[in-house]
Subunit: 340 residues, 2 copies
């Protein structure tokens, strides 16, 4: 019988970068954050905690709250505010996941049936709204207008990025610039805000808050680039993970975008048929994978991710060396190496 | 040729309560609020202002922002903050309308095709998220944590009310208490917050802020009760307005709830078939209207509205008499008399 090894452990064993040092350093705070998350998703209206728990308790790495806790730790912060704001960041993220799954008509997330499948689109939209409102209540309780400005701006930018992505669907003329703007908005803005508030609660100088925002933004871009590559990865498929979601939804992510721009007339006709025309048949995903491979579009997507990863790591250069700084930089490498 | 007279003018001519005195008193501020709304719905992502304008510019009475401006006026406030917060309240309202139309699968609103019909559910969900985020940015710019707490709490309560309503759909066992909790949450919470912030920006004592919150809450309940009655009103139908939306959607509002509780076995079987079973045929709406009429369920819904309206007017008793106070009280009567 084949043993499916957890991807993080596997990389550890091979001596590659791991998220574990960062997770270990924030472990105690993260447990308290998880408790805040569970307490604050409560509502008299039973469907709200039921549905929210399905997604929030299903796990995932809690990467965004971990970044808030890690950034606060890097800035020497020892109080309680970072935990509440980490919960707030996770609520914003969860609200966008609920709405994304409705918008993308997704059936599965992390191998589980999505909330929209189990409880319907209607409940997913409304519970998303609730979690989003709850995140603002948590911010208001924190009481810092600076934090409120950072996170409310991030929320608006996320929504703009999602609309932009929707408008680019099926458009093979999407440029790399436009794609980058989408992922910078829909993904990297929350990574940036999650890290920046760590410096703000610690009352550190603007240069450090800016450095952490830059770290988060570039890490977020690298993370999304790798995610978009993984959606076409034969290795992922061999690990039993679903691939081809973006292809089926007509999302023009970088692997597809590069393959289109580098392709010949015949290949472009194929992309137009399956992506613009939405005319997909059995075997089309395999054809797409072949064309993408022919043009080394996955490797080059990862290569682009490395560029943003390098920027993220350099952004932390102004902080003195420490275990948490190394752990945050390792998190960048982990985000990229998970592609292999 | 028949002339359809604007319902507000018609009532004016008959010497009934009108919204006009309130509108006149806040006219100058409302124009500036409208300008803020137009400016702040802007985004580089073109679909956002296009879709938002469709709903926001389509008119409607701007009742909620008018309440914020009127409440601030009643409290003697003369600064600029109320206009921005009035815009913020309208953004929250518009975001919930966009999501409501998706959840209810509505085709028409105020006689126009809904945004979800014109641009799809996906765009409506995401632009709703944007407007919601934008409302928080406006609040943060205002800079008052008290205002932020009031409006973020209202937002969470609205979302809870919407989920509660969703769970009550098709349930003929819904009690009047449960129905009241839904409308207090989904509608009255924002009316209350809209009024309360008027006192907060004017830095008035808690008693006045509480009085305005109570005025808003009870006005909101009365307003929604009348809305729910109008959805079964033969007069509305004769004016060319669509009726029966709640019936088709299986929403157990007070007219239906009263008719069910007062009905005989045969009538209850009818309600169970059409509402719980969702089995509706031609002629069923007419049957519903007859049963509702037989049990005077519309008149009694309006009678209940009068009760909350009286509470709203009395809540303003602690303020000295003035033109704006009379206008706010007239707005209550107008909200109820529009049923005739």
């Amino acid at each position: 019988m084949a043993v499916i090894v957890n991807i993080e452990e596997r990389k550890n064993q091979q001596g590659k970068a791991s998220l574990q040092p960062l997770m270990d350093l924030v472990q105690a705070d993260l447990e308290e954050t998880n408790q805040i998350i569970l307490n604050r998703m409560h509502s008299e209206v039973e469907l709200i905690p039921t549905l929210a728990k399905h997604l929030i308790a299903a796990g995932g790495k809690r990467l965004r709250p971990v970044l808030t806790l890690g950034a606060a730790n890097l800035c020497g912060y020892e109080g309680d505010r970072a935990k509440k704001l980490a919960a707030c960041v996770e609520f914003i993220h969860t609200a966008t996941l609920l709405h994304d799954d409705v918008v993308d008509e997704s059936d599965l997330r992390r191998g589980n049936e999505t909330a929209n499948v189990l409880w319907g689109n209607q409940a997913s939209v409304l519970v998303g709204d609730f979690l989003f409102s709850r995140s603002f209540q948590l911010m208001v309780e924190d009481g810092s207008l600076e934090v409120l400005a950072i996170l409310s701006n991030a929320s608006a930018v996320i929504a703009e990025g999602e609309v932009m992505q929707l408008m680019n669907i099926g458009d093979t003329n999407t440029t790399e610039d436009s794609y980058l703007q989408v992922i910078a908005s829909k993904t990297a803005a929350l990574f940036a805000a999650a890290c920046q508030v760590g410096a703000v609660v610690a009352d550190r100088p603007k240069a450090e808050a800016d450095a952490l925002a830059s770290y988060g933004r570039n890490l977020g871009i690298a993370f999304q680039l790798v995610d978009d590559a993984l959606d076409y990865s034969a290795e992922q498929q061999s690990l039993g993970k679903a691939i081809g979601d973006d292809f089926r939804e007509g999302k023009v992510t970088l692997p597809l975008l590069l393959a289109f721009r580098r392709g010949n007339e015949e290949e472009r006709a194929f992309w137009k048929k399956v992506v613009e025309g939405g005319d997909q048949q059995d075997g089309d995903l395999e054809t797409a994978l072949e064309i993408i491979q022919k043009h080394t579009a996955l490797e080059d997507t990862i290569e682009r991710a490395r560029h943003y990863g390098a920027m993220a790591k350099d952004a932390l250069g102004i902080f003195p060396d420490s275990g948490i700084k190394t752990a945050l930089q390792d998190a960048v490498d982990f985000s990229i190496e998970r592609a292999y």
